[in-house]
Amino acid sequence: MPEAPLLEVKAIDAFYGDFQALFGVSLSVEARQVVAVIGANGAGKSTLLKSIAGLMHPHNGEILFGESPITQVAAFDVLRRGVALVPEGRRLFPSLTVEENLLIGSQSRRPGTWTLRRVYELFPMLAERRDLPAVALSGGQQQMAAIGRALMANPQLLLCDEISLGLAPVVVRDIYARMPHIVAEGASLIIVEQDIMQALRAANHVYCLQEGRVALQGPARELTREAISAAYFGV
């Protein structure tokens, strides 16, 4: 019998007021798997991550994490169960220093391998700037701090929302180069990306969303460029 997936999203519908953003979206993530969710602006990628993280609750459908339902669980509790979100736009706490931003990530006191020292090893430039206010960092450093903050909770599942947004390609490559370390420590990843090539390189499995529906999914190496662009642009 195959092992149950770490995360299972079953046919969720999500709304902003009257506007429906997700239509019966299903997705599953295995342990130590990297799943990329790609799609155009407004396809529902961020909504999917917010629904998993508990920042919004789907109207229909179910989300199982480690076989227990988290569909209606509040965001702080989803984090405590082991799902951390790196939000779009980094969203560091501006009145906290870099180190305080990392330390507050460990607020949930989840046991695990990620400590302040390990995060500084992963992102050495943060260690040099630990006492600076978070807003004094460059965009790329802020992204590293946001990832570090999420890692401090020792998540089993790390959700990354548009981590390449607004960053120079060299910085994006630098950040993605560290992703295998995170997986090696035992976490699964869901990466939401607009940069399709970056997503395909990093992921084992790809979901392509189009107007709130899963238009295409499959193992990253089996998807053809034509199939992806058809699903991406809906042509």
Binding site: F76, D77, L79, A84, P87, S95
Partner: protein, 305 residues
């Protein structure tokens, strides 16, 4: 017109420099009390953008709880703090979890209206239970003890204790805010409540802890208020105004600023009272308005990124 005014200048007592110093010093000491009124207000606004209109009435409520404790257990007002502080903290936590959390959102108006309603309820509840009679907490001989600093300059023991406690409270709050995990959680929640949830902070709990802390400070302020002067159920709103004025003078978000704000207000009132007894409160309000006009961000605004 009584025709008294033209003669006023001659009737006004003339003070020498030392006597003026004494007056200013008394203003500084009372400023400590105002700073304690202000610290709780500033804390709550800082963490959750809630303007607590019932703050003054909660100070008076703390005074009445202290009155009951001192009478029931026959202890001194200072000893009563051991019970009044935790009691007010529990009231704060419960009030926030049960009521005020439901009013928080993008709109500043609902918490304003609800705490205004709360203010009326507390005033009338106290009136019903304790009547409109003036009460006072008796602290014994310490109330009138004083020592002479120099010629014409006297320091009362009680005002001095009150001032030292105020400094201790402000220093404690500063330390808690900038040196502890709880303070970090307060600042993070203040920065961005929804991301605070993403790092595992239950913001409802964090807000309730902030209100518990605010009312713990209120308890200390209430007991000192009640030892210093008479109180009755209706004096809360004026204490709220003093607290507000101290916060605005000092600059929002800065705890040491509230101490300076309290002192400025206390000194203005003390000097005003010497010019004319009717000017005591007016002088405080005028200084407040003047600072608001010239430096609306307050004297020590918290620099934010």
């Amino acid at each position: 017109m009584t025709g008294k005014r033209p003669g006023m200048a001659n009737e006004r007592p003339r003070y020498n420099g030392m006597q003026w110093l004494n007056i200013i010093l008394q203003g500084v000491l009372i400023g400590g009390l105002y700073a304690m009124f202000a610290a709780g207000l500033s804390l709550i606004f800082g963490v959750m953008r809630l303007v607590n209109i019932a703050h003054g009435d909660l100070i008076v409520l703390a005074a009445y709880i202290a009155l009951m404790v001192t009478q029931a257990l026959d202890v001194s007002p200072m000893t009563s703090l051991l019970l009044v502080v935790p009691a007010m903290a529990v009231i704060g936590y419960t009030l926030q979890r049960g009521l005020l959390n439901r009013t928080l959102g993008d709109d500043l108006l609902p918490p304003l209206l609800v705490t205004f309603g709360l203010s009326i309820m507390i005033q009338n509840g106290l009136l019903e239970l304790f009547t409109a009679d003036s009460r006072k907490l008796q602290a014994g001989a310490i109330e009138v003890q004083a020592f002479q600093l120099m010629q014409d300059v006297w320091i009362g023991i009680l005002p001095l204790i009150q001032f030292v406690v105020a400094i201790g409270v402000i220093a404690g709050l500063e330390t808690l805010f900038y040196r502890t995990a709880l303070g970090r959680a307060f600042r993070a929640t203040s920065d961005d409540p929804s991301v605070a949830q993403l790092v595992g902070l239950d913001t409802r709990h964090v807000f309730a802890l902030a209100m518990a802390l605010s009312l713990a400070v209120v308890a200390i302020a209430g007991v000192f208020l009640a030892v210093r002067a008479n109180f009755d159920p209706a004096i809360g709103p004026a204490r709220l105004i003093f607290g507000f004025e101290a916060v605005v003078i000092g600059g929002l978000g800065s705890m040491w600023g509230t101490l300076v704000g309290g002192i400025v207000l206390g000194v203005a009132q003390a000097i005003g009272a010497q010019i004319d007894p009717g000017w005591q409160l007016l002088a405080g309000h005028i200084v407040f308005l003047a600072i608001l006009a010239v430096r609306p961000q307050g004297l020590f605004p918290r620099v934010s990124g």
